[in-house]
């Protein structure tokens, strides 16, 4: 009902009927209340973190639902093994963290410091692997947001011109041309995927496929190296006269071979092409029972690389470049944009977590924690588990798309 004026407490630190822990802040009455507040606050904060990532997961869901083929295509560029190792590393570090909280509660300082150090190392390992992954992506021209394209008009020596769009296409080992347009694809499909190729053959009638390293990828390389672009273009129109999928492929000099190391490359996609149709597109074998991989094998192309592309082409119609609207074409990089946003923000959280662990470890070295007081260890542990948990969701969503 009222203030107890008979309870004079000039400094507010009067005794409330028990001894005060030195860790008890002035505005709490008991340690239970203080620890409870801290934990509640941390849980509420973790809720905000989840909602923050929730926005990204939502963006992921929207774009994956709208363009599943882009995501399926994109995920082939991620290294599942490294992702799996990272998952294991983080799970292990979560284990050492949880054990560390227990050690703090039992006052086992040496063990606590050791476990915190191990957890920190787990963070280092995770970020190290992430660094390797990111570096290789950047090296292959797979940085965020490189789906920017521009138009180039190519004039061929026979007087025909082609208005082409140039895309910076990730990691292209080959290009698929159809109806005057060009597709790309890459990856290392499993044998399962190769089997699934048979299902994709309903596309054969509709679209011409061509292994076409010369027109896009190698032409650009060659241009960059020797400046003999026109010559290649001429070459290219000649080579196109050869039906690559008819089983009598002429494995000409510019085709990709097995030793080709995939890198990011410029790929051109014809928008308008004044050349005769037989020059700009390849006829495709219409034998429905004939596996694409076989076709490519016969044409002398790196089979594994091409097959996965065919897989993409086969299962998801929009992957075919010319069936896409311009907007959808530019979406090819959406996957990487989202990949970098999600893993980047997560990586930032890992770094923050590592900083917090280091701080707690230094305090633990000074013997700050014991059965009476271990809230910071506990809270940092909660944070670290959340970081781990988010990765548990990121890994399958980004690396294990089927």
């Amino acid at each position: 009902m009222t203030t107890a004026t008979s309870h004079p407490a000039p400094d507010g630190h009067d005794d409330h009927g028990g001894h005060h822990s030195p860790h008890l802040a002035h505005h709490f009455y008991t340690m239970t209340q203080q620890v409870g507040s801290a934990k509640l606050g941390m849980w509420a904060f973790l809720a905000t973190e989840i909602l923050m990532f929730g926005g990204l997961f939502c963006a992921y869901a929207v774009y994956r639902a709208l363009h599943p083929e882009v995501f399926l295509f994109g995920h082939y560029f991620l290294d599942t093994n490294l992702g799996a190792i990272n998952t294991a590393v983080l799970l292990l570090s979560s284990f050492t963290m949880a054990w560390g909280v227990r050690a703090a509660q039992l006052g086992q300082t040496t063990l606590l410091v050791t476990l915190l150090a191990l957890t920190f190392l787990g963070g280092v390992g995770f970020m190290g692997i992430k660094y390797v992954e990111y570096t290789s992506k950047f090296d292959h021209g797979l940085g965020p947001a490189q789906g920017i394209y521009y138009n180039v008009t190519t004039e061929y020596s026979d007087g025909n011109t082609a208005q082409v769009k140039r895309y910076l296409v990730p990691n292209s080992a080959f290009i698929i041309a159809g109806e005057g347009d060009i597709k790309y694809g890459v990856g290392e499909p499993t044998s399962d995927q190769l089997h699934q190729l048979d299902d994709a053959l309903h596309y054969h009638e509709k679209y011409a496929l061509k292994s076409h390293a010369d027109e896009g990828l190698h032409k650009d390389h060659a241009k960059a190296e020797s400046g003999k672009g026109d010559e290649h273009a001429e070459d290219h129109s000649d080579s196109q006269a050869t039906p690559a999928f008819s089983g009598e492929a002429d494995p000409h000099e510019h085709l990709v071979d097995q030793s080709f190391t995939p890198t990011g490359a410029m790929v051109t996609s014809a928008v308008t092409d004044t050349r005769p149709p037989e020059h700009s597109a390849m006829a495709l074998a219409t034998n429905g029972s004939f596996g694409l991989s076989d076709t490519f094998e016969k044409s002398g192309i790196a089979t594994t690389s091409v097959s996965s592309a065919a897989l993409e082409v086969g299962f998801y119609e929009p992957t075919l470049w010319d069936t896409l609207t311009e907007r959808e074409q530019s979406l090819a990089y959406q996957f990487f944009s989202i990949y970098y946003c999600m893993t980047g923000l997560h990586g930032l959280h890992v770094l923050i977590g590592m900083g917090l662990i280091a701080w707690v470890a230094v305090r633990a070295l000074g013997g700050a924690f014991g059965p009476e007081y271990n809230t910071p260890v506990d809270l940092v542990g909660l944070y670290w588990h959340l970081v781990d948990l988010i990765w548990i969701f990121l890994f399958p969503l980004l690396y294990l798309i089927h």
Binding site: T3, A44, T48, G55, Y340
Partner: protein, 609 residues
């Protein structure tokens, strides 16, 4: 007890307090600027918020007046005045309404009640010494300051650049770079991903991002405080309704603000890296931005209005000298609004091409959310019915709130209906509607709360006549300004336009005249406060006769809020307080005071959450 008594300062029983108690309060507890900048005291942090938030309110208000003045003419006014070209004049208008909107929303309305009044009264109402995390509380203020200055710097710079270049022919860009934003406060894509605005979008969104942290951390602090710091005797349904309001607000703050944070981060990534999440030219979808934005910003509307409900519940009950009617309904409707508020964001996008089914669902939930709002209004009216209403300044503001909120709420139904919204979308009707809710309601509740707790904050009385005059000026000015905008909007005047056809002139003219009255009223209120600080008399511990725990301590409160350990009872039972004409305040009758044993809690352990 000391035998020397200082006349003027009395305790809750109306007895003069000792010299030591009289000279020691939170305002005198430390000296010098650093004792404020490094304080962990929630009351001082509240006062620091008050000074800064009101300063930004002044900035936003000046731009509002500027906008209204420019709209006096159907043609670009600054061009007519020969100050600059037409394009520059229109750009000036666009940047000004962006600055006005962004400053008012992010720097004023969202923090006004929770950060100023909430910070000040929440621990006092809990009978606690401070919020659960005092250091985090101070950090919130620094986040607020950092974000605000960032924000103002970027937005203001652009406007100054524009004026300097076009009026005085001085190019400021080499001196301090580009700035300025004309996207409106919503940063809608593709405006914000479109043509280069010199990094202003990135800087402004980064500012808003930092401000978001301030909001999140304050909400988190309040939630932990309300869960863990309630005194003995204060169960959940014995809390003052202000605490319920702040609690539901805090839930929105911690659940919605992070979504804005990630949206703004993505917008920054979009501009810096071109990731293509929102930019259609990069394959993104601008409507996704709208979804994300309103997923935060519609709940944010309730961040603005829910604490206002709390203030009004307190004022109406205390100044009607009557127990609040329908306590549980008011408390639960706050929570209902907080939850439903997350499910209505799509009503901002009826014309953005969302599916008809989605539109219908959002429309339905929007109508539904009117129910808890109406429950509150009816309960306030029922509280006033038969009460001994005291027409003090807080009560006038509170009654003004009910009037304005009702108009704002009812016009919201027009906009929540799919069909009428197609006609009214992005017209002045919308402008008038949200000003009635956000300005009319929240500002009035804020002013009601300021006048209600002013004596507690500073221990000084203000001129009641002056405060009431200001209240009436503000009320009349506000209604003139915005009620005509409903008409203009219904006739088709689109919002955010620098120029307009002549036939809308009369509405703009009336609106501008009203805004001048409103401005005079606001400055008048400010004058009353300053006069009170300089010349105000010492007030009694409980000038209004409230029974929530903040009235159970001296005015202004001591550093750690209470001289003893308060116990929660029914905050709306005023029976034990009796008016003392000598003190011009209420005193607790000692004979009715509960026995000592009842007042001292045996167990100080926190209540179960």
């Amino acid at each position: 007890m000391s035998s020397i008594n200082v006349p003027g300062i009395t305790d809750i029983f109306g007895k003069p307090v000792s010299e030591k108690t009289a000279s020691e309060n939170y305002l005198t507890h430390g000296k010098g600027i650093m004792s404020w900048l490094l304080t962990l005291d929630h009351k001082r942090i509240g006062i620091m918020y008050m000074v800064t938030v009101l300063t930004f309110f002044l900035v936003g208000g000046l731009f509002a007046i500027l906008l209204r003045t420019m709209l006096l003419s159907p043609e670009p006014l600054l061009a007519q005045a020969g100050l600059m070209g037409e394009t520059a004049s229109n750009n000036f208008y666009n940047q000004s309404f962006t600055l006005h909107g962004a400053v008012m929303v992010f720097l004023f309305i969202i923090p006004a009640i929770p950060a100023i009044l909430g910070n000040f009264v929440l621990p006092l109402m809990l009978g606690a010494k401070d919020v659960a995390f005092p250091r985090l509380n101070l950090f919130s203020w620094y986040c607020y300051m950092g974000g605000s200055l960032f924000f103002l710097w970027v937005l203001g710079k652009g406007i100054i650049n524009l004026v300097m270049l076009n009026t005085f022919g001085v190019d400021m860009v080499p001196i301090w770079g580009h700035g300025g934003l004309d996207t409106g406060w919503t940063f809608y894509t593709p405006y914000s991903t479109g043509e280069d605005t010199g990094g202003a979008v990135v800087a402004a969104t980064a500012g808003a991002f930092i401000l978001g942290f301030s909001s999140i951390l304050t909400g988190l602090n309040f939630i932990a405080s309300i869960h863990m710091l309630r005194p003995p005797g204060m169960g959940w349904f014995k809390m003052p309704l202000m605490l319920w309001a702040l609690y539901s607000t805090s839930i929105i703050q911690i659940l919605a603000t992070p979504v804005l944070a990630i949206t703004l981060l993505l917008l920054i990534a979009e501009r810096l890296l071109g990731v293509g999440i929102f930019d259609p030219s990069l394959g993104g979808d601008p409507v996704l931005y709208q979804h994300f934005f309103w997923f935060y910003s519609h709940p944010a509307v309730y961040i603005m209005i829910l604490p206002a409900f709390g203030v009004i519940s307190e004022c109406i009950s205390v100044h009607s000298r009557k127990h609040i009617f329908g306590y549980a309904f008011i408390a639960c409707s706050s929570m209902a609004i907080a939850l439903l508020g997350f499910l209505v964001w799509g009503h901002h996008m009826f014309t953005s091409g969302q599916s008809a089914l989605l539109g219908a669902i959002f429309s339905f939930i929007t109508m539904f959310i009117a129910v808890p709002s109406a429950i509150k209004v009816f309960n306030w009216l029922a509280t006033m019915y038969g009460g001994a209403i005291r027409l003090s300044a807080p009560m006038i503001y509170a009654m003004g709130f009910i009037w304005l909120f009702t108009i704002g709420g009812l016009t919201g139904i027009f906009l929540g209906s799919l069909e009428t919204d197609i006609h009214l979308h992005d017209t002045y009707f919308v402008v008038a509607h949200f000003h009635y809710v956000m300005v009319g309601s929240t500002l009035f509740a804020f002013l009601a709360g300021m006048h209600h707790w002013w004596p507690k904050m500073f221990g000084r009385s203000y001129s009641e006549v002056g405060a009431q005059t200001a209240a009436w000026l503000i009320f009349i000015g506000f209604n003139i300004t915005f009620i005509v905008q409903f008409v203009a909007g219904a006739q088709g005047m689109p919002r955010r336009y620098a120029t307009y056809p002549d036939e809308y002139w009369i509405w703009h003219f009336l609106s501008t005249m009203g805004s001048y009255v409103l401005t005079i009223g606001l400055f008048y209120a400010l004058g009353v406060w300053i006069h009170s600080l300089v010349k105000g008399k010492q007030v009694a511990a409980n000038p209004w006769g409230g029974n929530s725990l903040e009235w159970h301590t001296t005015s202004p409160p001591p550093f750690e809020n209470f001289h003893g350990t308060p116990i929660g009872t029914d905050p709306y039972n005023y029976d034990h307080w009796h008016f003392d004409p000598e003190l011009d305040g209420y005193v607790l009758r000692e004979e009715e005071e509960p026995a000592e044993a009842e007042r001292t809690a045996p167990d100080r352990a926190p209540q179960p959450a």
